[in-house]
Every structure is written in C-alpha cells, then in structure tokens.
C-alpha cells in the first residue's frame, strides 16, 4: 500500500506544478484580454516583398 502514498504524492506534485503555472499565467495578465490573442494566432506572417516592388518601380 505504501506505493499508493508515493503515487499520490507524485501526482499531487505534478498537479501543483500546473496550478503554479496557472497562477503565473493569471498574474502575468494572460486572462486580461481573451479576444485578441484568439484572433492574432490566425494571422499569416507574409514575407515582405517590398524589394521586388521597388525593382518593378
């Protein structure tokens, strides 16, 4: 049965790590604006082609 004690302790430690991550995320303001990041992720980073344009001109 003592193996259970060990397992529970480990699982709780892992869970605590995630809780800590959550607390950090809240404190660093990641929940302040939930709309713009959701949109931002969908933008494509198009490589700039100004050079070509200038050559054309």
């Amino acid at each position: 049965m003592s193996v259970l004690v060990l397992l529970i302790s480990f699982s709780l430690i892992v869970a605590l790590i995630f809780l800590a991550a959550f607390i950090w995320a809240v404190r660093s303001g990641q929940f302040d604006d939930t709309d713009s990041p959701a949109v931002r992720i969908l933008f494509d980073d198009k490589p700039r082609d100004t050079k070509e344009k200038k050559e054309k001109d």
Binding site: M1, S2, V5, A15, D33, D35, S36, R40
Partner: protein
C-alpha cells in the same frame, strides 16, 4: 484616377469601409471608394504592402467622411501635454496607451499591430481588443507623438485623448483575484474529490490505516487555502452586513463553510472518519464561478465618464506674442483662447470675436446651433461650428457652470445604498429559519446523546448552506444581462436589472434621445420648388460646412450635375450667397435674404432658412425634429404601465407634436437646465416614484445619476456617453418596453430557482434532522443542487428571451 459624379443608382459598396458610394464616388485601381479619405487609406496601405488588411475581413475600414481633424493635434507638440498622454518617455523610447473606440474587427488588430511596417520609429504595438486599447512603443526622436496620432487618425483609428485619460490609468487596474480563487478552489475541489473516491465506493475499512491518515491529511492541507483564501470575501461581506445590522446571503454561506470545516476537522482528527471537505471545496468553487458570471462587465464601454472625458486635453492660448497650446486645466481667468471649427469650448468665457455659431445640443439639449455676438457670455461645453473664434476665459474649467453640476450630491452618493436585492430579502428569513431548525435539532437530540445533538446541529448548518440559493440570482441575471447585450442594451451590472423591476416613472430627454440629431427632416414651405431650383440649392449648400447646410444637402436627393458656382460667399451667422447659372441665389437668415428693411418680421426663434433667387423670395426651409422610427408604439406600450415625462432644454415649438405622441397624463417640461432636470428627478423620488431616466447628453448627466436607473441612448456606442447605469444603442430604444418586461420575467425565473433550491434544502434538512447525513450524501446533494439550479437559471432565461423574441 477617375472621378465619377453622375453614377447610376445601383448600390456600389466602398472597398474600404463598406458604405454605399453616393455623391463622391472614387474609382482607383478598379476598386470603388466612397470618399477620398477611404481611397487615401487604401493607397497608404497598398504602398506599405499591408493589403492583407482587406483579406481578413470584408470592407473592414472606418468611414472617413466628416472626419477632418485639420491641425487639431498640434497641442501634442507641447511637452507638458505630451507628458500627460505618455506613460513613459526617455531619449530613445516612449510608451503610450491609446483608447481607440473604432477598433472593431480582426483586420483592425492586424493593421494596428503591423504599424511598425509603415511607420518609421514605431517598434512595437499591441492591441487589447476587449478594452479597445492599443499599447505603443516608439522612438520620439524619429516620430513625434503628434505625427503618430495624426497618422492613426488618417487611417481611421483616431485615439480618444481627453482630460480624463491620464487619470484612467490608475482606475483601470484589473482585479485578477477572482481567477486565482476559482483556479485554486477548482484545484482543491478536484483533488479532494479524487482522494475521497475510496470512500464513495465504500472501501471504508481500508486495511492500511497509514494510507487513510495520509489521505485525510492531504485533504485538510488542500482545503486550507479554500477556507482561508478563496472564501474570504464571504466572511468580509457577512461581517459588513452585520455591522450595518442586516443579514445578507453571505451570512448563511459563511456559517455553512465554518460548520463544514470545523465538523470535518473534528471527524478527521477525533473520530477518524473522512469529513465533508469535498463538499466544502465544491461549494466554494461553485459560488466563485457564480460570482464571476455575475461580475461580467463590458470592458470596452465606460459607464462612469464625467465631463472630463468629453473635454479636450489642450487648447490654444495667446501667450505674450504667439499662440501656444496649453493643457485646459492650466487656464486662468482673462486668458485669451482660440477655439477652432468643431472644437469644444473648455471654460466659461466672453466672446472676443464678432460672431460665433455654437452647437449646444449635447450640453443643453437645444437642437439648433446658437448664434453669439461679440461680448456675449459663453458657457463651456458648446462646440464651435465654422471658423475659429477667440474667447476671454472667465472661470477655470472646473469652476465653469456646467461642471458645477458634478459638485451636486448626486455624484457623491454611494452606489446601490438603500437597495436590497431579492436574495438578501429572503436570506434574512432563511438564516433565522436555519438557525431555528439547527437549535431545535440540538435541543431535541441532546436528551438522548449530546454528541449526536452536536452532529445534528452542524449537519443542519451544512445542508442548509444556501449554495443553490446564492447561485440562482447570479446565473439568471448574468444570462439576462448577456441577452440584453445582444440587443445592444449594455448594463453596468446585474443590479440594474433588478432595479428595473421597481420602476414606476419613465423620464425622457427630447433632443438626441427621442429625436434624431443627425437626420432631422427639412421641409420647404412656400412656392413649390422645381427640380432645377432644388439642384441649384444643392449646388449652393454643398460648398458649406454649416450643419444646416449639410442637413439641406442631405435632404435633396438630386444630382447636382455640372453647375457653375461663382462669387460664392459664406457669411458667418447670416447665410450663403452665390451666382449659380447666372442667377444670384441667397440662402440664410431672413435679414440676410430679404434685406435690412424687413427686420420687423424677425421674431421666430426656430430654425428657418430662407431662400431667394434674383431678389425674389421663394420661401423657407424649416428644420423639423425627426422623431425616432417606431417611437409611438413604444410610448403607447410604456404609457399603459408607467407614468411618463419629457424633460427638455429646448423651447416649446414641439409641444403639439409631443402631445400627439404621448398618452394623456404625460408631463412635458421645457427650458430645463441640467440642474432643473436633476431637481425634477429628486422631486419625483421624494413623492415615492422609482425613476428610470433615458437621456443622451451632458445636460442629462445630473438627472441620469440622480435617477434610480439612468440609461444613455447613443447612435454610436463608441461615442462619449455621460455616466449612467446602462448604455443603449439608439436602434434598440423601441425595445425598451420589451426590456422592462423581460426584467419582470427574470424575477419570476429567480423565484422558481429559489423554489428548486428550497426543495433540495428541505430534503437535506430532513436527513440532517434525522441524524442520517453522511459525507457521501452531502457530496452528492450539494453539487447536484448547485448544478441543477445553474442549468435551470441559464437555460430558462435564454429560452424566455427567445420566446419573447429578444434574441
């Protein structure tokens, strides 16, 4: 570039802003634009290779019609003013946060965050969409703050810079603790439940006693932050209630939490049984979620603006030998200031220039611009229309007449005092009832076994903990508030919804609230004008920026064609004259059009624009107040349930029209100053009425604040609105009876949810009094009651909204 004036009538949509292209249709690179402004933005974006803007959303741009900022932003060159706007600045780096009301779609985010590609010196920009704010980092050595703001304005993203701005920073601190509390409570709830699983499945006699102890200890450890951190708001609120000598809903909640915790500690450490910690953590978790749901706010809107956010940040003052821009708060008596076209007069002053044409509609409710002559006293808050004027300041900004309104007690009063919501009314009796049951149980059982009696006592407190009761209100009201939000009626908080139940008297402002400012109708009275005459008039008025000219221009739906306009002259305060197609046309005041001889006839105060051609008088244009569409049915629907009043700063010319629209018994008060309006509301309240005020301008600010519910109506949600309890899109005004009716519906839903939670409490109470309450039973009953009440409240509220055609 081509310019097409006489386009056929089919609808052409502007590539940039999506508006219909009408008079000034521009075609560029095979794309249609409604005005030069939109085309310019497209050109700028195209040049900088930022046309992805148009791929993300269809016609994402902001219409630039009637948005001419001229050199409005020169004041940003002033170091002192810039300091107020900037958050941080050193030699190479400056940081600024702008509030940009026109942010509305994903294209906006994309463009504003790619600013660095087109503006030299901008190193970083980030948009907060919810709050419509942009965070910018730039190099002040490369690009000045003024250039930055002007560039943003050119693109249509004009930042709102006002006196209130630098103060907003401190206020805007977000309270993140609710997220932390929910997270920690949820974490504890999940883990304790997991660790309690062996109990649930009846492995009570776990052979290994050390394992059982270990789990119990862990549970206690996990519950500590829940009891001492997550739930602390409830103790604070309960204590605050006690101090004010009334029992709120947080009293039984706190009692329940304490009973749960002490009973569990006793069981774990003394009797060695598992305790109720899972129920405890679950209870706090659900309560916090309810709180979060209820505290939902519209972050992009501001419900507590005062005159400071309406006023400009800086104004031109004559110092020694030149005009410099200074912050308005530095203005002193006898300063000479310059107010340009469309700028707002910041302080009470005397007019130095010969003539001024001031639009007070937002401030006093008078619908037409007022003419002022040299030496006249001019109140702050008006907007100068036309050329620049010079003024001699008489009072500092905060001492000015309009600002005095904010010194009234109405603005100092604490929010929501004296208002007890439904749940707190019940909680008083509820708490007393629970205590009676608990003590009764204690006495009844103490004859047989005192230990058992104590058990029953705590068990009653535990099951009676009004979790479900406390959740029914936030979830019903929170859902209802979201439903109204979908209908463009944005409430400050859920309490407003409850207050709507008690309204007995509805007060309307006239100008801008039940009438439309922008689209007042123009009628011509006199000889019937031929279409060629009309097109002559239009050719004349399109040259003028005067608001009345614009109204006339908008009222004539003819194409001007190619008319030659010669000798055009606009005389401020008088009118327009020009030679069109060889004929002299005059349009304006009676004196101006008919000549000096006719002064005796000048008696009418309402706006009339007279027209004469070649010296022959043709008639006049009269501006009529244009009431909002669908106003009459709305008034009728309200009139059957509420008393109605119209308060207006305007004159009585519209009285007959109003009488026709409003039911008998409605009151009309004209020439009301902002202070009069406030006092009228006060007098209504003294006679026991609960007042809902619907207004729009600064002149209503006092009345809105004083009334039980103040609702601001606005054509554009992003515009300035005075402090209020709710902001309503003007298009939704007709739904007001429906909204008030829906508030009554939510009350019924809340009562139904109360009944459900009482049933759960009754069942639990039966078990508790019979001394049969087990941890497993509590662990099932409590989440079950909470979840079923939450589901009932949200589902029924949304169903009723659909049933009543609100969504």
């Amino acid at each position: 570039m081509e310019r097409n004036k006489g386009q056929s009538k089919e609808k052409i949509i502007c590539y940039h802003c999506g508006d219909e292209c009408r008079d000034e249709h521009v075609i560029f690179e095979e794309k249609d634009f409604c005005c030069m402004g939109c085309k310019t933005v497209y050109e700028i974006l195209d040049e900088n290779d930022l046309c992805t803007y148009y791929d993300l959303d269809k016609n994402p741009g902001i219409s630039l019609k009637s948005k001419d900022f001229g050199d409005k932003y020169t004041f940003l060159d002033n170091e002192d003013v810039a300091k107020l706007v900037l958050d941080y600045r050193d030699e190479e780096k400056a940081v600024v946060n702008f509030y940009i009301p026109s942010i509305h779609c994903s294209s906006c985010i994309w463009l504003l965050e790619n600013l660095y590609q087109m503006m030299q010196g901008v190193s970083h920009s980030r948009v907060n969409f919810t709050k419509k704010e942009m965070h910018l980092v730039f190099d002040p050595g490369v690009i000045s703050l003024r250039n930055l703001v002007e560039m943003l304005s050119t693109l249509g993203y004009e930042p709102l810079i006002s006196l209130d701005d630098h103060e907003r920073e401190q206020k805007g601190k977000i309270n993140r603790s609710i997220y932390l509390k929910i997270g920690i409570a949820g974490f504890a709830f999940g883990n304790i439940m997991l660790l309690s699983f062996p109990e649930y499945f009846g492995f009570e006699g776990i052979s290994d006693i050390t394992l059982q102890h270990f789990i119990s200890w862990l549970n206690v450890l996990l519950s500590l932050p829940v009891v001492f951190y997550c739930a602390n708001d409830y103790y604070i609120s309960a204590m605050a209630g006690f101090r004010q000598k009334y029992i709120n809903i947080d009293v039984p909640i706190s009692l329940g939490i304490i009973a749960l915790f002490t009973r569990s500690l006793y069981e774990i450490f003394v009797t060695g049984s598992p305790g109720y910690l899972d129920s405890l953590a679950g209870l706090v978790f659900f309560l916090l979620v309810g709180k979060w749901f209820q505290n939902f706010t519209y972050q992009g809107l501001s419900f507590d603006r005062d005159y400071k956010s309406y006023f400009p940040l800086a104004i031109h003052r004559f110092d020694k030998d030149k005009w410099v821009s200074v912050p308005v708060k530095d203005l002193n008596k006898d300063d000479l200031i310059l107010v340009r076209n469309m700028e707002i007069i910041p302080a009470d002053s005397l007019l130095d220039s010969s003539l001024a044409n001031i639009d007070y509609s937002f401030v006093t409710g008078e619908s037409e611009p007022q003419i002022r002559k040299s030496g006249d006293f001019i109140y702050a808050g008006g907007r100068q229309m036309g050329g620049g004027i010079q003024l001699r300041v008489q009072k500092s900004v905060s001492q000015s007449y309009l600002m005095q309104l904010w010194n009234n007690d109405a603005f100092a009063k604490e929010e929501d005092l004296g208002f007890t919501n439904l749940v707190n009314v019940i909680s008083k009796y509820f708490t007393l009832g629970v205590l009676a049951f608990a003590i009764g149980g204690l006495i009844f059982w103490s004859d047989t076994d005192f230990g058992l009696a104590l058990n029953v006592f705590t068990a009653v407190l535990i099951v009676a903990c009004p979790c479900a009761l406390a959740l029914s209100t936030p979830f019903t009201l929170g859902s209802a508030m979201r439903v109204l939000g979908k209908k463009h009626f944005y409430l400050k908080n859920v309490n407003v919804l409850e207050k709507m139940l008690y309204v007995t008297h509805i007060v309307f402002d006239k100008t801008g609230t039940i009438t439309q400012n922008e689209e007042s109708r123009i009628d011509f009275r006199g000889d019937t004008l031929s279409s060629s005459d009309l097109s002559v008039v239009k050719a004349l008025v399109v040259n003028s920026t005067h608001p009345l000219s614009r109204k006339i221009a908008a009222g004539i739906e003819l194409n001007v064609g190619e008319k030659v306009v010669e000798e055009y002259e606009e005389i401020a305060g008088k009118g327009l004259k020009a030679r069109i197609a060889g004929e002299e046309v005059r349009l304006g005041s009676r004196i101006f059009v008919l000549g000096e001889s006719d002064i005796g006839l000048e008696s009418d105060t309402s706006a009339r624009i007279h027209l004469a051609k070649e010296g022959k008088y043709l008639g006049y244009f009269a501006v009529r107040n244009n009431y909002r569409v669908g106003l009459k049915p709305m008034i009728e629907a309200l009139g059957s349930k509420y008393k109605l009043t119209v308060l207006t700063g305007d004159n009585e010319t519209e009285k007959r029209n109003l009488m026709r629209m409003f039911p008998e018994g409605a009151s009309f008060l004209f020439h009301q100053s902002p202070q009069d309006k406030l006092e009228y509301i006060q007098s209504l309240q003294k006679s026991g009425e609960h007042v809902l005020m619907v207004g729009d301008g600064l002149n209503d600010a006092g009345a809105l604040k004083q009334s039980d519910i103040g609702i601001t109506v606005t054509d554009d949600i992003t515009n300035f609105t005075p402090a209020s309890d709710g902001i309503m899109d003007a298009k939704s005004l007709n739904n007001l009876p429906g909204f008030l009716d829906f508030a009554q519906t939510t009350r019924r839903i809340i009562i139904a949810a109360f009944v459900i939670s009482f049933l759960y409490n009754g069942v639990g109470l039966g078990f508790a009094l019979a001394a049969l309450l087990t941890p497993l039973f509590a662990a099932i009953l409590m989440p079950l009651s909470s979840i079923s009440v939450v589901v009932f409240a949200t589902v029924v509220t949304n169903f009723m909204a659909r049933y009543k055609n609100l969504i």
